[in-house]
């Protein structure tokens, strides 16, 4: 018999519902992630919680059979699942909702998601999917890494758009495993790859051919970058790994945006001074309408200013803080307390050994589909010199912004279809042409208006001239560029030196000649 309870949302009721035979409500009230959960749900205006007890959770069941079943102490194999609603509910009103023949559609509007409660002594928060912060009408907060989860609650069909989160149990999973687990939930949805449980991820990571783990894999104390990459490969994906310790010239915020915009889950690896390295799966970002920072890397004006300059914070699943935890971007001071060249740092609710709240990025790993071969940093080699050229001709270079991101061809076509700045021949030429499945699109905007779109075949390789076509929506710029790139112009020698290859100059001329039918260049690209 199911012991369902419907409770008003309060700290006392939440802690009581999270409690189990191994952890009292009083202990849970002092547990960091439980406190975060309370504050998060309070912000989301939760008014009621429904306790589904017992609940069988596939992820915990796998962990249970892999470890807990063989412990001398007894741990239950069943969990509880708590559901949160933005409306007041009682046993009676909820009972009516469940037994009604026609489901009340407004219930979906008030559903905030669920938390699986594990029957463990400390790490009680199992798989949970909660609604992300409201998006301010699409203007500021964006959560492209979210996916849809369908939930059946006593016959009620509900769904939640979010990304699965859980806290590390420190036995089968430390932060790196949990970060991968969340990321695989999204890649499974995007690419149809598996969504392995934490136990399987840890096993795959620590059995890498070259892995010489310094401790036993279980109980789990952590993974190395190499082991995280091995787990990604084991899951049929490729790891895009970026080392932020080597050079300050990585525009890291725009890089993260470039992958996340398509929905890819970027895993941020940070150093917490005096504590060590930590992994966080990013779920979203806050994009302001005006600039938040002045330069991608302070003191280096050669890097093209990108969308990342308008991002003031990321949201991430931090297995020791909570879901969608805020990471506020700050320029990083010099000297830094840790070994990294990264130009930014994040302020979070973490506290380091000195009482500071700063996290210093040291690496990024993105699990990507193996056909995506071109990287964000490789695209920079094409747009950085072109930016220098545009900066020399546009009246106020400070108004230039580059939007560089991965995009699925189907999404690109959808956007082209609705682009009011493109003529019908440009649109038709692109829509009727065969596209690669993934593009890197680099759009140069001036005062918010797209002046040109560069399309790079993301399935190509950097040395094979992946720039496939350029769309020139602003005729005034196109005509000016044609004159600028003409051999009769004495400045063309300097342009050639900046763009490095004659082929790039020649290609830009061709894109300008084909500007009413840019799709024709795609045809030519396919013919090679």
């Amino acid at each position: 018999m199911s012991a369902t309870k419907v409770l008003a949302f309060s700290a006392e009721n939440l802690h009581g519902a999270l409690a189990n035979a191994n952890a009292t409500a009083a202990e849970i009230s002092a547990h960091g992630p439980a406190t975060y959960l309370w504050e998060y749900l309070q912000y989301m205006r939760a008014a009621a919680l429904v306790v589904e007890d017992p609940y069988t959770d596939a992820d915990f069941l796998d962990d249970y059979t892999a470890y807990y079943a063989r412990c001398y102490s007894a741990f239950g194999r069943r969990c509880k699942r708590l559901h949160f609603f933005r409306r007041e509910l009682t046993d009676e009103s909820f009972g009516q909702l469940v037994s009604a023949q026609q489901q009340d559609d407004t219930l979906q509007r008030d559903y905030l998601g669920f938390v699986v409660v594990r029957p463990l002594p400390q790490t009680i928060i199992g798989r949970c999917v909660l609604k992300a912060y409201d998006d301010d009408g699409g203007a500021r907060r964006h959560f492209p890494v979210n996916r849809r989860y369908n939930i059946s609650l006593f016959g009620l069909d509900l769904y939640i758009d979010g990304l699965a989160y859980q806290e590390q149990d420190t036995v089968l999973a430390a932060c790196a495993t949990v970060a991968l687990w969340s990321a695989f939930h999204r890649t499974g949805d995007l690419f149809g790859t598996a969504v392995p449980t934490p136990a399987v991820i840890t096993q795959a990571a620590t059995q890498a051919v070259n892995s010489v783990h310094y401790g036993r894999p279980i109980p789990q104390h952590g993974l190395r970058v190499e082991e995280m990459c091995a787990a990604i490969r084991h899951n049929g994906l490729e790891p895009e790994a970026i080392n932020l310790q080597r050079t300050p010239n990585v525009p890291v915020v725009s890089l993260l945006y470039g992958y996340m915009r398509m929905g890819l889950p970027a895993i941020l690896i940070v150093e917490i001074p005096g504590r060590g390295w930590h992994a966080i799966t990013l779920t979203g970002y806050s994009l302001l309408s005006n600039g938040y920072r002045m330069q991608e890397v302070p003191g280096n004006p050669t890097i093209a200013p990108m969308v990342g300059l308008r991002i003031d914070k990321f949201y991430g699943h931090d297995d020791q803080i909570g879901p969608n935890a805020k990471l506020v971007i700050q320029d990083s001071p010099s000297p830094k307390p840790v070994q990294t060249d990264c130009a930014i740092r994040f302020e979070s609710t973490w506290t380091d050994a000195h009482g500071d709240h700063c996290l210093y990025p040291v690496a990024v790993t993105v699990p990507i589909y193996n056909k995506i071969r071109l990287t964000f940093l490789e695209v920079q080699a094409w747009i950085t010199p072109l930016h220098a050229l545009f900066s020399g001709v546009l009246p106020e270079p400070v108004r230039i912004e580059w939007d560089v991101h991965l995009i699925l061809s189907n999404d690109l076509k959808r956007e082209l279809k609705n682009d009011p700045n493109l003529g019908s021949s440009v649109r038709e030429s692109l829509l009727f042409t065969h596209h690669p499945r993934f593009w890197w699109r680099a759009t140069m905007l001036y005062a918010g208006l797209p002046f040109c779109h560069l399309l790079f075949d993301a399935t190509g390789i950097a040395r094979s001239f992946p720039l496939t076509t350029v769309i020139w929506p602003v005729e005034g710029l196109a005509v000016f560029m044609q004159r600028l790139l003409d051999d009769a112009n004495p400045a063309v020698l300097a342009i050639r030196r900046m763009l490095k290859t004659d082929r790039y100059v020649q290609f830009l001329r061709e894109t300008l000649d084909h500007r009413t039918k840019p799709g024709e260049l795609l045809h030519r690209h396919l013919a090679f």
């Binding site: 190395r224 970058v225 932020l244 390295w277 600039g291 938040y292 050229l389 020399g392 009246p395 490095k500």
Partner: protein, 61 residues
């Protein structure tokens, strides 16, 4: 952090963009930038390389 760039405050229309007065390119200034631009690009490539020491660090907090 103070807002320093003005990107989207006043979005140009296509008509305004076509009427924009573009500057003649200062070839000398562009030429002077070549070294710095390609130095930046080269240094970005270093970010795709991981050292043994880095690979050996455990992500364990």
């Amino acid at each position: 952090m103070a807002e320093t760039r003005n990107n989207m405050e006043q979005i140009l229309t296509l008509e305004e963009a076509n009427g924009l007065h573009l500057r003649e390119l200062d070839a000398k200034a562009l030429e002077d930038e070549v070294g710095r631009v390609w130095e930046t690009i080269e240094s970005m490539r270093e970010a795709q390389v991981f050292t043994e020491e880095m690979l050996a660090r455990e992500i364990s907090v």
